[in-house]
């Protein structure tokens, strides 16, 4: 087994894992865009999506319906978070709001622990477990689902921001809240939609990777951290940058571990992120600070 074959396998793994990071990162970027707030409960959305799907399915709800319902539940949680925790504190500073999201993530994790316990759960793959061979490398049908669904989600989000009135209104809020308000945009509603959309993307990520990995009540912590890194790497506030950042992070981890050492897998990825931030503080695709003003 030569270098080339190994690299190919690492590429597949990297893109799959990176897709999940990309969706989580995208969720971070959307909320950051709308309100300058880093929502640290983003990882919890992933966990709630996956766990809801697993438990609805186990409770006898048909597979596809369970997946759909899980997304609905997560969106409801995301919107409730905005309505009952973020909105009442709308006059608070950005830092205070970020602290609120940290509190919310602890609350959601605790609730998940009470509802679902500490056990580990898995989800049945979308379509079988027949290994697909691509030359010397192998993948599961679920890998394709992860990549495909991520691509579709990203395209839809892009379309939403570029071509719909609501999407443009959210972008307007990100540039200048007061001005947006003055031209008649319902800023409160836009924020609510942003949280809903972020939760939706989180849930999709969770459902997609649940059959590959397994979920526990605290699985959102690590995924949230990786998604956050993706968003930082791509440039906070640039949704497509976050997607690129996620894919890069996945590839860095996988190829770094493959070529250098798996013991330093996370370290390699984080060192590169630090280097990027050192030379380009606003991320690879981030707008420089003065552009935003």
């Amino acid at each position: 087994m030569g270098m080339y074959e190994q690299l190919l396998q690492n590429l597949i793994t990297g893109i799959t894992v990176g897709s999940a990071y990309a969706l989580v990162g995208l969720g971070f970027a959307i909320i950051y865009n709308a309100s300058d707030v880093v929502n640290f409960a983003q990882g919890e959305f992933v966990m709630i999506g996956a766990m809801s799907a697993i438990f609805l399915n186990a409770a006898g709800v048909p597979y596809v319906v369970a997946l759909g319902l899980a997304i609905v539940i997560t969106v409801a949680v995301g919107m409730a978070l905005e309505k009952f925790a973020i909105e009442p504190a709308r006059n608070a500073s950005v830092v205070s709001t970020i602290i609120i999201t940290i509190g919310a993530s602890i609350l959601l994790r605790g609730a998940a622990l009470l509802i679902w316990g500490k056990d580990i759960y898995g989800l049945k793959p979308f379509t079988g477990e027949q290994t697909i061979h691509i030359g010397p490398a192998t993948m599961l049908p679920q890998n394709l689902w992860v990549m495909g669904c991520t691509a579709i989600s990203v395209i839809l989000v892009k379309y939403f921001f570029d071509h719909t009135k609501t999407g443009k209104a959210i972008l307007a809020c990100s540039y200048n809240k007061k001005a947006a308000y003055l031209v008649g945009i319902n800023v409160k509603k836009m924020l609510l939609i942003s949280y809903g959309l972020s939760a939706c993307l989180g849930a999709i990520a969770g459902i997609l990777i649940a059959p590959i990995t397994f979920f526990t009540y605290n699985a959102g912590v690590m995924l949230g951290l990786k998604g956050f890194s993706a968003a930082i790497l791509g440039g906070m506030g640039n949704p497509m940058g976050a997607v690129a950042g996620g894919l890069m992070l996945g590839l860095l981890e996988s190829i770094g571990a493959g070529l250098i050492s798996s013991g330093y897998k996370d370290a390699i990825a984080f060192i590169i992120i630090l280097l990027v931030l050192f030379f380009r503080p606003s991320g690879l695709f981030g707008k420089s600070a003065w552009e935003r003003v």
Binding site: M1, G2, E5, Q6, Q9, N10, I12, T13, G14, T16, V17, A20, K118, D119, I120, G122, E129, T131, H133, T138, M139, L140, I209, I212, T213, F214, T216, A219, V221, M222, L223, E253, S254, I255, A257, G258, S262, G263, K265, D266
Partner: protein, 388 residues
Amino acid sequence: MYRAVTKGLTAVLFGIWFALITTVFTAMPANASGTIKIGSFLALTGPASFLGDPELKTLQMYVDEINQKGGVLGRKLELVYYDTSGKAKVAKDVVKRLIKKDRVDLIVGGSTSGTTLAVIDIVEREKIPFISLAGSIKIIKPVKKWVFKTPHTDRMAAAKIFEDMKKRNISKIALITGNGGFDKSGRAQCLDLAPKYGIKIVADESYNNADTDMTTQLTKIRSTDAQAILNFGFGKAPAIVTKNVRQLGIKLPLYQSHGVASKKYIELAGDAANGVRLPAAALIVAEQLPDTDPQKPVLLSYKEKYEAKYGPVSTFGGHAYDGLFIAVEAIKRAGCVDKAKVRDEIEKTKGFVGTGGVFNMSPEDHLGLGLDAFKMVEIEKGAWKLLY
């Protein structure tokens, strides 16, 4: 077997009863009245609660049962326990409390190696018998005068695996472990023991226990000339490794540690788990043991009682059973709860049939289990199959 134990117990109690009648008025030690206090500190909440929960349930169930049958030495047992959440600092505090305030006669507890190792100093200083329920070999090696333990060690698991590999003429293996305490300790034991079995570790990969995918590490392993893969870990990661091995089409034999010896692992890994070999406590294959096995009746009795009351058994609760009964037997042999005498009797435990194996302790060995205490198990069609 269990009946024999209870019969013996009643006989002993009967003898003690007579002895008491004749001597009660002449020389009654100050502490002979009242209860025998067994102290315990367990991880009942927190990440290690999957250990502490069955341990406490087991202790409570058997303390009640012993008391219903008249107690030990004619005195009732009293269980005094505290939750450590698996934290070493808390363990230190509650053990001091057990010794100084509750004045327990001995301690059976310490769900995790971390909490156990943290209290060894206190236990040694206060000179109180302590039977730990945690895995690490460091607890009993080097030997500490007052400290004993009942669970198998990771070193034994590694030795058992290497023994099986030798039988299959495997001499080059790939090791893959996580970043948790259990993983790291297991890895260290594997690296240390492998040369003694003539086994070469050609790849030594690691992963983060929260990782979602291990194909990268396994791809690397695939490119080596390893003849088998050994994964030391517990939780969800070994299940992901197992799935990834099959997904990559790797045909090498896969070994897991005793860390995955629960139904959950088979459930998570699904079909991919078939063919996986691991060393495990006899409890999970109790029904398959030959009738001549002395452990079989003990295991079946424990399993039946526990499952009737609480649901599926785990080997962890079994460690508590072993600890409690080794203590009770030692107290009976000592004929009192004098700490030094009880300690001496625990050390003299010979041929005690527990859930973990047949215990033969000595001044050099405060665990007393041989490699035969581990059973080599293979997963076949989603069920455990006892190999030997």
